[in-house]
């Protein structure tokens, strides 16, 4: 496969240059030319009004793709409970399975699985492959890869969905490399296209662009999906399900590393500069005690607590929380400014955050000028309600 530019058709209009996400097009002598960093994505071909860009794809399937059926979800669990991402994958997997008219199955590995298989069934799995064996109590790349790769080779699923957790990303890439198929990381949107292929959409380039990716000639089509992207499947205890226990066939060789211990750490103070979510409080909180509202919200979101200079100066909170000119410069995914008016020195420290949400009782507060979402209202009422709402929706 390659991308070519037909010089006789190219007029040097530079439309392709503008759309190329990789900066891999240059215009020389009024003709477009592809540079070495071209990835062959074909974005340029789409933009060309003169049919001067040809995308040639001579890849083809080497196996009978029609043998591969079913949507699989690799379940992940911790402390005797399924991780919410697994239930989300079942929710999305259900939609995909229905669109292609195939079964939704789950794969469950572990030491002592309790009623987790049943839970998967309640959330829509029509079949659960169960591998129970003490040595699988904690995730380890070697045995998990061996077992799931064998299952895939044996049962030939069409689509495999895995949570984009540290475990899931470690596992999925190893499996994909073992069975030699495509894997798309961190999908935010999944769909079935007109050819019946899984259309996987994911952010790239630090979230600056989105890419839709197919895996046309290899099976299964594998994706990892970040937690909280999709809605969880609804629990329904009347659902029927086929339970398929599978022998682990573990041999000593597959334990590649020794797992010595697993240490759980309670949410420690999050580093402001590295936090993905920051909830910041300002003088609008009224009094120092109300910073607990900020802490509660930060905790509910797994984020860090920030503060305006005014609250730090007033001694409401320690200076390590200060965001702004004299404090830290932060760039989280979400910055929630609560009761912060948005003085220029505060904005200097946070305005390049991906998304800014401002809550303030003054509709004219300058913070709304930089915010992406704004709410005019009373913090003391809104914040506790928000924490409650977030806890209700999270599992």
């Amino acid at each position: 496969m390659a991308v070519y530019i037909l010089d006789d058709k190219c007029v040097g209009c530079s439309a392709c240059l503008k759309v190329c996400p990789f900066g891999a097009v240059e215009i020389a002598d009024k003709k477009a030319r592809l540079l070495d960093n071209c990835t062959g994505c074909g974005a340029c071909a789409e933009s060309c009004k003169f049919d001067a860009i040809v995308v040639e794809d001579n890849r083809q399937a080497e196996v009978d793709l029609s043998l591969y059926k079913g949507v699989w979800v690799i379940a992940e669990h911790s402390g005797g409970r399924l991780r919410s991402v697994s239930l989300e994958l079942l929710g999305e997997g259900r939609k995909l399975a229905d669109k292609i008219g195939q079964d939704l199955c789950a794969v469950l590995l572990g030491g002592d699985l309790g009623d987790l298989a049943q839970e998967l069934a309640y959330h829509g799995a029509e079949k659960v492959y169960i591998v129970q064996e003490p040595r699988l109590a904690h995730y380890q790349t070697g045995p998990y890869t061996d077992i799931i790769s064998n299952l895939i080779t044996t049962y030939k699923p069409n689509i495999v969905l895995i949570g984009a957790t540290n475990q899931g990303r470690d596992l999925a890439s190893r499996i994909a490399a073992r069975i030699h198929t495509g894997l798309t990381a961190d999908c935010t949107e999944l769909d079935i296209n007109e050819e019946g292929l899984l259309a996987q959409t994911r952010p790239a380039f630090g979230g600056n662009i989105m890419a839709t990716i197919l895996c046309p000639y290899h099976r299964p089509q594998m994706s990892t999906v970040r937690p909280k992207v999709f809605k969880q499947a609804l629990r329904d205890t009347t659902r029927n399900c086929e339970m398929v226990p599978v022998d682990s066939c573990l041999n000593g060789k597959c334990m590649l590393c020794d797992l010595l211990e697993v240490i759980k750490e309670a949410g420690q103070g999050v580093n402001l500069e590295e936090a993905e979510i920051i909830v910041s409080g300002g003088r609008g909180l009224g009094k120092p005690e109300n910073f607990s509202l900020i802490r509660d919200l930060a905790e509910a979101l797994g984020g860090a607590v920030g503060a305006s200079r005014a609250t730090v100066d007033a001694g409401w909170i320690s200076a390590i929380h200060q965001v702004g000119q004299t404090g830290k410069t932060v760039q989280p995914k979400i910055y929630i400014a609560c009761g912060i008016s948005g003085a220029i020195q505060h904005l200097a420290g946070m305005q390049s955050s991906d998304t800014i949400i401002a809550i303030n009782k003054d509709p004219d507060a300058p913070i709304f000028k930089v915010a992406h979402y704004g709410i005019v209202g009373d913090l003391l009422e809104l914040l506790p309600a928000l924490v409650k709402q977030l806890k209700r929706t999270a599992v």
Binding site: A2, K18, A43, R59, S173, H180, A185, A204, L256, V262
Partner: protein, 259 residues
């Protein structure tokens, strides 16, 4: 001990901006840098070298200009570097990239430890490291936040969402590291001047004995069919109405954004 560090040249994505009018990427002035996590990987290798003695070789797959980051690696203290570059590698997805790097690593040969960053900031896939380990048939430990030699075994703290686990592995093995593991050093003047003079070999597909069906676009199972820039709001969306309703909407917004 021989350590191979896999590094990648990436655009500094924090510099990338979107032109709000055309909704396209503004690439002017965007610097090419060593993938930050790979800088941590290199630092980890250099620290092992300082502690126990090792030869550190940096390897990258990329266009000819990726030579810059190899020189930077040498300036920081890598003993050797290899550029794996061929027009035929263009368009490789993570599987084809992992294959290509694995072939290059085989050619370097005699490795004990391979270190890479947990992921590259332009692709964010975290798939190439494990892909290389699989191709080479060696153990992998991803998301390492601490690493040290314990006799001839490697002790690693692997980061989890809610804590960490302590792993021990025999060598050879592949480790990917997170930012927390260290603070990468800056090159020294002497290193910089030495790096300028350093002969760095360039290996093409034939040099590494790559199967042409497994490299570049041809060797990539995945296919990018569409690239677009997400629409962005430039003005604040004001959530109005009853507090309960507002809170509900806001919770949804936050949940969606936090993925």
């Amino acid at each position: 001990m021989n350590i191979i560090v896999c590094i990648k040249q990436v655009p500094d994505t924090t510099d990338v901006k979107i032109n709000p009018e055309t909704n396209t990427l503004i690439r002017d002035g965007v610097k090419s840098i060593v993938n930050p996590f790979d800088a941590n990987a290199l630092e980890a290798a250099l620290q092992l070298k300082e502690a126990a003695g090792a030869k550190v070789t940096a390897v990258t797959m990329g266009p000819p200009q990726a030579m810059d980051i190899l020189r930077e690696a040498v300036a920081m203290g890598a003993d050797d570097a290899v550029l794996v570059s061929d027009r035929a590698f263009a368009g490789a997805d993570t599987l084809a990239t992992a294959y290509t790097l694995a072939m290059a690593i085989r050619k370097i040969g005699d490795y004990d430890l391979i270190i890479g960053g947990k992921q590259a900031i332009d692709g964010d896939t975290a798939q190439v490291g494990p892909g290389i380990a699989e191709q080479l048939g060696i153990p992998q430990i991803t998301y390492a936040r601490r690493m040290e030699m314990d006799d001839d075994m490697l002790l690693v703290e692997r980061m989890l969402e809610d804590g960490y686990e302590v792993m021990k592995t025999a060598l050879p093995a592949l480790v990917t590291v997170v930012k927390q593991i260290n603070e990468p050093r800056y090159p020294s003047l002497r290193g910089l001047l030495a790096a300028k003079k350093k002969e760095i070999p360039v290996w093409n597909a034939m040099d590494i004995g790559a199967d042409e069906k497994r490299i570049g676009l041809t060797g990539s199972p995945t296919k990018v069919v569409r690239i677009f820039t997400p629409q962005r709001n430039t003005r604040a969306v004001m959530l109005e109405g009853e507090p309960e309703k507002t809170v509900e909407t806001l919770a949804e917004v936050i949940t969606k954004l936090s993925v």
